[in-house]
Amino acid sequence: MKIVACYSNKGGVGKTATSVNLAYAIAQSGQRVLLCDLDPQGASSFYFRVKPSKKLTDERFFKDVERFTKAIRGSDFDNLDILPANMSFRDFDVFLSRMKNSRSRLKKALKAVDGDYDVVLLDCPPNISTLSENVFRSADRIVVPVIPTTLSERTFEQLLAFFDEHKLNRKKLLPFFSMVERRKSLHTQTMGRLRNRYKKLFLDSTIPYATDIEKMGIQRAPVLSYAGSRAAGRAYDEFWREIIKKLQKKV
């Protein structure tokens, strides 16, 4: 089981769209996916039409295997379940490590329903906190959407600094360019500069700024499920394949 976090220390960069579409694409490929909506705004749950559970707000939640597994909801798509969480995260690291420990009750409880999850995808809230640090340690990879603008460039550098400061493995980071507008010279220039500065760190695939992605709010479904053959759909398709390849490699 691999844990992939989707994280950005800046809002409005397409983080939830990334989580939702990545989860959907991997599930479609036949792997079992659990998407954990850790963002207090609960947006990825919204896209899958799953109502956030009111009972899950207290922190005892992560200690309680039964409450955790009961909160999981099947999405309308095969192989894709949602944990519509909306909670405090004091014990989140404990929870993540239990998820990986094959002898833990949590792991067994997760397995009981339909076989093991192959990928657990975490849609993280947008701030650097104790939670984030725990996530960075437990996750196998951290997918980071970056809009190619000067402001995003700065927040990305802050994230790198945080990693160095806390002796976290930078190689876990999978930054990629999000909401890219090819017509804007600022975007192309920024992308060029960052790719040059951080050799091989950024993913090759990029996600464009597209109305089809914005329409997710109306469709309440992953882009790939309604616009799979269009530009945005094709971009997400390339994107998940690259992520899966990276996941197979050790850091």
Partner: protein, 502 residues
């Protein structure tokens, strides 16, 4: 998997005021399906159903579990199907039985989703509706629907509610009995009702009458040449009739018995060579394995000739089965054994069936033991053949009269007998095959052509191999009889068939 008989009432899935709304989705239009099974309906008897529709084979098991695979195949035997889950699950179909079209009908598929106010699905169901076409009409009453419910994690309530609405889950052979209608039409070994109090004349005539029906049921399949089992079953049925005539001594008058025996023998005559050829052809791979590759070309030529001979034989036999002469003859025989007024009863006709059965079986059993006890490794083959024939007769008698004895008892005795019979059967087959290969050689003299020379070489080697096999089987006879001749078996035979005071 749920089974619903008759049309589905869609109203029941979403009552007004309920929280969840039912959304129906129809998959394509109605399509034709074909119900497949072999002639003896092995699939149905196992409680399963095999359907071909829209390029797919769907096997619905006794428990409703369904497997699907592409319908593409090279022939209609299970071995001709592509490797896949359906083929793997069709173990109940005999290897030599061809799949046939047993029935047809229309099917359609639909899906149901129960969704909430956020348009989120809480539970789903798939429906496969099958409407069998009967000769008389396509009635909605005969329609059945198979439903499978899919729950989504965390929405147990909707899942449970949906299952509850669908009612009973498929069990036993619910699907099969719904789709086939009527009892299994063909049974190679029919259960013949016997009380034991009927006179021997009636018992014998009941058995013969039942097996005339069995033989006749195989005629269309022989003509269509679906598989070799039709001819085989036809022959077995006639052979059983002949056994009754020769084993049930004195039930019919002597002259009557002789005449009937010759009439049934005559029916069988043209089938003998064809059956031999079937056996050779079915065993082809085996023969090729027996010989080194250098001798394969002769075998190939020989099998080509066999296959041509079989085709010609089948054409001739088909003509015969369709001829008015044959049909008249068998109809007359069937009518005589149904009415029985014209049958001449013999001195034993009025004997009590059970007493008669016990006497016959006991006598035959003693005979088998007597011959077998005299057999050792030095005994002439003739004696071994003799033993084989008596074992066969004993087996037939036990099977004919099985309904008169506690079920299970006869089976328990047949099992060790069968082992001995299999051994003796192989011994006989290898011996007969050597003789018939020699005869074949004499019909194709080596001087005539180069092909015949190759055939002769192969037959020579084959005969040697068969002879060795015959010796191997011969060596097992004594030990197999010793196993059959155990104290328990002896005791059982005595207690069942030789009760004191009878």
């Amino acid at each position: 998997m749920f089974l619903v008989r008759g049309p589905i009432d869609r109203q029941m899935f979403g009552k007004p005021g309920g929280k969840l709304v039912p959304v129906w989705h129809e998959d394509d239009s109605e399509e034709r399906y074909v119900l497949l099974d072999c002639f003896d309906q092995s699939i149905r008897r196992s409680g399963a159903v095999l359907i071909e529709a829209a390029g797919q084979l769907t096997l619905i098991g006794r428990d409703g579990r369904t497997v699907v695979q592409p319908a593409t195949r090279t022939g209609n035997f299970v071995g001709d199907l592509e490797p896949g889950p359906v083929r793997r699950a069709l173990g109940m179909v005999p290897e030599l039985r061809s799949l046939l079209e047993i029935g047809t009908g229309k099917f359609r598929q639909s899906r149901l989703a129960l969704i909430d106010g956020e348009q989120k699905t809480h539970a789903r169901a798939r429906f496969l509706t099958l409407r069998p076409e009967t000769a008389s009409s396509v009635s909605e009453e005969a329609e059945i629907t198979l439903a499978s419910v899919q729950g989504l994690r965390g929405y147990d309530k909707a899942y449970r509610a949906l299952r509850k609405k669908l009612g009973a889950e498929v069990k036993d052979d619910g699907v099969a009995s719904a789709l086939y209608g009527g009892p299994v039409a063909y049974i190679a070994k029919p259960d013949i009702k016997m009380t034991g109090d009927e006179p021997a004349f009636q018992a014998a005539s009941d058995i013969i009458s039942a097996y005339i029906t069995v033989a006749r049921q195989n005629e269309p399949g022989i003509i269509a040449d679906y598989d070799t089992e039709f001819l085989h079953d036809y022959r077995v049925a006639l052979r059983k009739i002949r056994s009754v005539l020769s084993l049930f001594k004195g039930v019919y008058g002597d002259a009557e018995t002789e005449m009937l025996k010759s009439e049934f023998s005559e029916l069988m005559v043209p089938t003998g060579r064809m059956r031999d050829l079937d056996v050779y052809l079915l065993d082809q791979d085996h023969y090729f394995e027996m010989l080194p590759e250098t001798l394969h070309s002769g075998l190939t030529k020989m099998f080509d000739l066999f296959s041509k001979e079989r085709q010609a034989g089948l054409r001739a036999f088909t003509r015969r089965l369709r001829s008015s002469g044959y049909n008249k003859k068998i109809l007359v025989l069937a009518a005589r054994f149904a009415d029985r007024d014209t049958l001449d009863p013999g001195p034993n006709a009025k004997l009590h069936a059970t007493d008669y059965a016990c006497a016959l079986i006991w006598k035959r059993y003693r005979k088998v033991c007597k011959i077998a006890s005299g057999i050792d490794d030095q005994t002439e083959d003739e004696e071994v053949h003799e033993l084989r024939i008596h074992c066969k007769k004993l087996r037939y008698l036990m099977e004919f009269f099985a309904p008169l004895f506690p079920s299970g008892e006869i089976k328990g005795l047949i099992k060790p007998l069968k082992r001995l019979q299999d051994n003796l059967g192989l011994f006989n087959d290898y011996s007969v095959q050597q003789i018939s290969l020699q005869a074949f050689l004499e019909d194709h003299p080596t001087s005539r052509s180069k092909d015949n020379l190759a055939i002769a070489q192969s037959i020579g080697a084959l005969t040697a191999a068969l002879h060795q096999r015959q010796l191997d089987e011969r060596a097992k006879v004594v030990s197999n009889f010793t196993q059959f001749d155990s104290p328990e078996v002896r005791k059982k035979f005595r207690s069942l068939f030789h009760k004191k005071g009878k």
